[in-house]
Symmetry: C2
Subunit: 133 residues, 2 copies
């Protein structure tokens, strides 16, 4: 599970809605490393995201900044925590925004359906990896 968040090839296979394709420009999954990913629409429109990893503690925690470059200057701090439940892993994602307006803007942007779809795709990817595909 942790690998799906820190390996750029795996990350590209589940992050975001299915209709968008991820282009990984930077993906240094170490403390202090930068990440920069572009989601490309079928008609070629691009949505950029970038941030830096404040701390990456395998296999427990990733704390990083997050910025949608379509609305630059609005940065969030997000932490994903991984908890081993034996045959499963619980992931808790925690995000703080710089303002309530930023938070509401992100929620209104359709982040929820995008996040739901990401989680669905992540589940499928893990199933594929387990079955050795």
């Amino acid at each position: 599970m942790f690998r799906a968040y820190t390996d750029p090839d795996l990350f590209a296979r589940w992050w975001g809605p299915r209709r968008l394709t991820n282009k990984i420009l930077k993906f240094d999954s170490r403390s202090g490393g930068e990440w920069h990913v572009i989601q490309v629409d079928t008609d070629g429109a691009e949505y950029g995201f970038r941030g830096v990893n404040h701390e990456v503690v395998p296999p427990e925690r990733i704390c990083q900044t997050f910025e949608f470059l379509g609305v630059p200057g609005h940065v969030a701090l997000q932490t994903a925590t991984f908890e081993d439940l034996g045959n499963k892993t619980r992931v808790v994602a925690h995000v703080v925004f710089e303002s309530v307006m930023d938070r509401d803007g992100m929620v209104d942007s359709g982040m929820r359906s995008g996040a739901d779809e990401s989680m669905e795709r992540l589940g499928e990817l893990l199933d594929e990896l387990k079955s050795g595909k």
Copy 2:
């Protein structure tokens, strides 16, 4: 003013209370760069702080993560914005914490008096630099 925030030698001369001495371990003032500073007490006690710069836009803005290593795992996102007022610069510091508890913990730790003392020292440093010392 921007230089006082991004030049490690200048930063060490004003950041924190006077009774503590700053040891700069890392201070890469570029977007994606890391910083790590230790404040040393007169009796040798050390207080570590570290983070990464999400974005540094000279001479306007610094957006970075901030963690006090005495209470690890509690990270804040802070943005300093510099506004040129002619013969002065207005600095606005904006910090978001991961929780209200983290915020209150930081306020209770005496951050306010430390921040006031820092601002006083920063003013003195700028006066010195202007007078060419």
